[in-house]
């Protein structure tokens, strides 16, 4: 993998050298704080930092990799107290607090000058208040990853409707397994379930209205979503004690075949392969239809930003250009790397079962629209209160009324 990577980089060094001669003169130190802390992404960011460092002899790249879930509570501290030059974050609404606080650098000029060819289609996710605040470097589909071999053994096929999904689940349960693995300790995995239940029950547009605070959490539509979700909970479809596990700690349930499916993002695939599942054992399907609405999908986009208090903005901007370039995009998103989708339209989508399926689903079978994710579409504070409620619902579905009232009063307070 590394060989391929350096080749891409070498080619890139030539091209960028021609386009922006200034880049060759980068000097000083470039400090990057990255949240790509899982093993596969960690290798990627370390490779990127090392190669960028090698490309610019006068520039020293300092990389700090911090825990991905911890980073969510550290980023503000980092940007205010001791700003690095480049940081990782997420697109769309999740940028809001940092954009409004003036902590992300406005890079609209680069977008305007055409510094990011091939990124036109993702510009919207980086836009807030009519300006662009960073670049994406990867995105990935969500959906149901399941044990193909166990499905075969039980005579099941990929469901297209919720009724089929429920029927499948009953068969799985009868075989002594659980239908779904989930680790909700860090809450957001429950957000994924809500996104899909709500988008399928009430449609993408309703889901976005809820995200914008335009409809009440106590509305009948939202209750219908939870009622559908509750059918699965009452069946005992989810693994026990999921509130104790992180998403990674819930992977072994699938690996050992104790649970047959996992609603998660494509980033889980390298982990499942690493744990020994072959492509014959693992497959993917789109979350099935519930109501008669065009299907919408979650496809979160991960990003790089320049800190507005960065000390080496020149190098930081060059780094943004570098990570979005065609060859780097192809290299880092490949199955040996992140195993996700490149943001650059000119980059090639890897020839990999899951990446290809995700690409087809998102480009051809998501007419409803593309959402970022619960904790990126909803305002940060709403997302935080919301996900706590979702986790509580999954464990104590009887508390629903209390939870919805709480969320509704939070909505009234937060959106104002």
């Amino acid at each position: 993998m590394f060989h391929k990577f350096t080749k891409a980089v070498a080619a890139l060094a030539l091209t960028t050298g021609l386009v922006t001669p200034a880049m060759a003169e980068l000097s000083g130190t470039l400090r990057i704080i990255s949240d790509m802390s899982n093993p596969a992404p960690r290798a990627i960011i370390e490779g990127l930092a090392a190669d960028f460092d090698a490309m610019h002899p006068d520039l020293t790249v300092e990389l700090e990799v911090v825990d991905r879930d911890a980073w969510k509570s550290q980023i503000r501290n980092a940007l205010t107290a001791n700003p690095p030059d480049v940081v990782n974050w997420y697109a769309a609404n999740r940028m809001g607090p940092y954009v409004r606080a003036g902590l992300f650098e406005d890079v609209s000029d680069m977008w305007e000058e055409g510094a990011f060819p091939g990124l036109e289609s993702v510009k919207g996710a980086m836009t807030m208040d009519g300006k662009q605040w960073g670049v994406p470097y990867t995105y990935y589909q969500w959906g149901i990853y399941y044990r193909e071999d166990i499905f075969k053994e039980l005579g099941l096929t990929e469901p297209a409707t919720f009724e089929e999904e429920v029927a499948n689940c009953q068969v799985v349960l009868d075989s002594g397994r659980k239908c779904y693995s989930i680790g909700s300790k860090f809450l957001w995995t429950a957000g994924g379930w809500f996104d899909y239940m709500n988008m399928r029950t009430n449609g993408f547009d309703f889901h976005m209205q809820l995200a914008r605070g335009e409809v009440e959490w106590t509305s009948d539509e939202v209750r219908a979503t939870f009622a559908n979700w509750r059918r699965l909970i009452d069946m005992g479809a989810f693994v026990d004690d999921h509130q104790t596990y992180s998403w990674q700690e819930a992977l072994p349930f699938v690996v050992k075949g104790e649970a047959t499916a996992y609603l998660i993002g494509n980033f889980a695939v390298p982990h499942l392969r690493e744990a020994g599942l072959t492509d014959d054992q693992l497959d993917f399907y789109q979350f099935p239809k519930i109501g008669d609405f065009p299907m919408g999908e979650d496809a979160p986009t991960d990003t790089f930003h320049v800190a507005s208090n960065a000390s080496n903005k020149e190098a930081a901007r060059a780094f943004l250009q570098y990570v979005t370039s065609v060859d780097v995009q192809t290299a880092i998103n490949g199955p040996d790397g992140l195993g996700q989708l490149p943001v650059n339209a000119d980059a090639s989508v890897a020839d990999d079962e899951f990446i290809q399926q995700g690409f087809e689903m998102l480009s051809g079978n998501a007419p409803g629209g593309i959402a970022q994710f619960f904790d990126r579409d909803f305002p940060a504070e709403m997302a935080s209160v919301g996900m706590e409620g979702l986790q509580e619902f999954m464990v104590f579905p009887d508390n629903l009324d209390d939870i919805l009232n709480r969320l509704e009063s939070a909505r009234k307070r937060i959106y104002k």
């Binding site: 704080i33 825990d67 501290n77």
Partner: protein, 282 residues
Amino acid sequence: MFPTPIEKRSRGAQISYQALLPVALLMWLLPLVAVALFSIRPLADFTNGNYWGVPSSFEFFTNYGKVFFESDMPRYMLNSFLITVPTVVGAVALSTMTGFALGIYRFRGNLLIFFMFIAGNFVPFQILMVPVRDLTVSAGLYDTKMGLVLFHIAFQTGFCTLFMRNFIRALPFELIEAARVEGIAEWRIFWFVVLPLMKPALAALAVLIFTFIWNDYFWAIVLTQGPDAQPVTAGITSFNSQFVAQYHLMSAGSIVAAIPPVAMFFLMQRHFIAGLTLGAVK
């Protein structure tokens, strides 16, 4: 002696006491034993659900090797030392001086200052957090070891002063008076008369502060981030995210992080306990 010495009891009581001791110890340290057992298992045991059976192989060197050679753990450990040692030196030095001043001299406000140190030592960290963080940031010391060291020295001075002052109080005051009659300057009394007598207190305090600072977590996450400056208590969480769900490695990492204060304790046990129990006997 209370309770009645066991050797004055019946033979049966003695035997059952001797037998009970290791059992009680094992129960007491059970969670720790569990972690130690985890840390020598291979990954395969966890995937196969063999958590408590005989390990399928003995992986002590592989697991601990990974901790030392394939993670940032050594960096975090080094940071911990670079934060802890200067703090110990600084806090002990400052408090020897304050303890001397408060223990030897009579002046107005003596007790007030002494009580200020004691009270400050008891306050919840959270009431200091926002201003201290702000101060550290504006001094350009955020995410530096120096920022942590300065705060730790200041805060530990509270406890250390209490300790030193009480220790100095218990010294024979006649020695100092005799020195004064000889016309020896006050700072020389401090240096040549009092300080030599305080060696046991210095040792006890140094060991205690070493443990306290090594084990600090709250200030580490408030004032630092990332492997540049963070001590091992904070670093262990990112170590755990690197090896998430790999309990054998996480266990090994925790044990490594815990070793320095434990070693310090076993090496300097007498001083440690003397320091900790100061005041428990009057």
